[in-house]
Symmetry: C2
Subunit: 403 residues, 2 copies
């Protein structure tokens, strides 16, 4: 991955001029969904400034499939266009973000959700499986994960309907709306370049395949999940919705956020080891109705994104363009990334800014996830300018039985 | 679902003239992958006989998305074309199956695998989780399932490579080829008509959404699976490959195979109940190197396909064209659909026709799954002509570490 020459990063509307994230938008007067880059509070219409059909698409998939060299050269051309456009005042292809509609940025192929925070795994064991081993032997040997539902990944802004499911009440289950609607704050990574069935993707090849990162809200109905999940894992307790941010931050933008990965004990097997093991200095902020409830640090994760991808493919499973994998809930030692942990399964409700209490989410609640990454000069933990991931948010809508 | 007027069904090359299953094929001299219908040992080129772009496609997805009315009228037109073509000797668009290459018949959206045989669930508990509750309370209340990897569903004939994974040896895991490569015999169902996110698909709407059925081989590495699967379920022990048959049997062809569903105790919740609960009289045959190892009956399954679909969507999860769901291993009281059960985890190896023993699969083994369904006049269990599902088969290839 080529180093990214980071420039001053004035934050306008969530983004500065260093992130240059990709998304898919529609705008009155411009035909069809098309690919854009966020610059400040504007969207640069790539289909208009580059004569390339890869940007006249309803998803980033075609562009993501082109691979690292194309991603690097496109980013350089975008940066030039932004500089030139600004200096010459030529802004006819810069549209206000407020005037466009953002779409799901890519067609999701397979969705895998990992479980890679030691603090989260410990908390979840304590709450959901009391009396059992807190951290099982497999957890420290491999990034444990499972496949989720790709077809219900939605873009930020889409309401999330409270799901019905089988919930145990008294002697047996009833079909009812979940009473324990939760959300997990995660970072997601999207694959651009596929791999062949039967082949492994070595840990050092991460940046050859992964295009970029998004914010990810992993909605979870804890009562549905707890009844269904043994022995085959989470199913309907998760499959009703997963929200991602509309803007995909390219990996190149995150070069400045690389920090050493935390130590691992025991040492993992060779295929999970690398000479240059890195985590990302990303700080998340989870809010309910504008009240920040947690600020977990992504660099606390036990397993790194490159380890996750190496594990995912060690059995020869093929990657496809659009494969999305989530980090798992980001919880560090003091800041937890889910209401399950924050309210300890509702036993210790949170008090929001308006004085109301939350064990789990109420109908009408607005959940907002934002994050920043270290920019040049801020990796050491200073409070300088940081890169933005934008936002992933959704309002909880009431349960209904509709056909 | 309109009743299907079944005619005499001479079996030629696996199919008669009643199944009329759909697939996607390539043939020298005809451009591109295209949609065909199997008639006896021939393929009828639909793109050639109908002037309709929906058949000039590399998958059935566009056709499957058209819905029940289009499926019914197309099947009637195909039947007419077959009759007319035969009587007039006009066979220029009937190609020998031996001369074409079959492709994956549809683009798989999400893949869900259920676990709906009571006998299999009981056997698996005894073998994999000794000492624990055989059938947990959730199992009899809902069709337990999980999401699998859509991107590694392959068509019959593609070799299946023995996967590497973390396998416990002595004190800890090593990365090694699985020593317990298994396969599960299943029936899969594919969705044609999508549903809206947030809506349920009632049990009675099954035939509005589901296009047809395939044979499904659910490959499983038992040693990888047993180390990884708590608490999030199967992951790399399954995600390396799933094989489906190239020909999709439309639901209409299976009308004659409907039989009453087995009784359920306790009675399931309302959303899983129907006035006309039906199972399918389908008999599977699983063979290794030509030696039949099991003949389980699909009508023994505890949960029906319509119950599975109603459950899958009760939380509002959307369906997409191409969604595939597997029944779970088909094991009846005397015939088991996996080597795990047949060899009791290798403790009681099977003796094949050539005298060799199998606990699990060896490199080079050919696994073959076939099935027949009751045709008109055979539903009562007579041994008359039955409809064919064709075949799903694969050879096990040796492990390798390739990038």
């Amino acid at each position: 991955l080529a180093g990214d020459q980071t420039e001053a990063n004035p934050v306008i509307g969530g983004f500065g001029s260093s992130e240059l994230p990709y998304g898919v938008f529609s705008s009155a007067g411009r035909p069809g969904p098309r690919v854009g880059v966020a610059v400040g509070d504007q969207v640069l219409d790539l289909a208009a400034i580059f004569d390339d059909p890869v940007f006249v698409q309803p998803s980033l998939n075609a562009f993501m499939a082109q691979g690292r060299a194309a991603w690097t050269s496109t980013r350089a051309r975008v940066r030039d266009a932004v500089r030139t456009g600004y200096s010459a005042g030529r802004t006819e292809h810069l549209l206000p973000q407020a005037d466009v509609v953002m779409h799901l940025p890519f067609e999701v192929a397979d969705f895998v959700d990992f479980y890679s925070s030691l603090q989260h795994a410990t908390n979840a064991s304590r709450i959901l499986r009391p009396g059992q081993e807190l951290i099982r032997p497999n957890w420290r040997q491999q990034p444990v994960g499972y496949h989720g539902r790709a077809g219900t990944v939605v873009v930020s802004g889409a309401p999330v309907r409270r799901p019905h499911g089988q919930i145990v009440q008294g002697a047996g289950p009833v079909l009812a709306p979940t009473k324990k609607l939760d959300v997990e704050a995660e970072i997601g990574f999207v694959v651009g370049v596929p791999s062949r069935l039967g082949n492994q993707v070595p840990i050092g090849h991460f940046t050859d395949h992964v295009f970029g990162a998004v914010l990810l809200l992993d909605w979870s109905a804890r009562d549905i999940q707890s009844f269904e999940a043994v022995p085959l894992g989470p199913f309907l307790g998760k499959s009703f919705a997963t929200t991602i941010s509309p803007w995909v931050l390219p990996l190149e933008a995150l070069t400045t956020a690389r920090v050493p990965a935390p130590p691992q004990d025991p040492l993992p097997l060779d295929y999970l080891r690398s000479d240059e093991s890195w985590a990302l200095d990303v700080r998340l902020e989870l809010a309910v109705n504008g009240c920040v409830v947690s600020r977990p640090r992504f660099d606390s994760m036990y397993w790194t994104p490159a380890q996750q991808l190496a594990h995912l493919t060690v059995n020869g499973a093929a990657l496809r363009t659009g494969d999305l994998f989530g980090s798992g809930t980001v919880s560090d030692e003091t800041e937890f990334g889910s209401l399950l942990e924050l309210s300890w399964d509702g036993e210790q409700p949170l008090r929001l800014d308006d004085g109301s209490l939350r064990g789990y989410l109420d109908d009408g609640d607005l959940v907002t996830l934002t994050a920043t990454a270290a920019a040049s000069g801020t990796a050491a933990g200073t409070d300088g300018d940081r890169l933005s991931f934008g936002v992933a948010s959704a309002v909880v809508s009431g349960a209904s039985l509709a056909h």
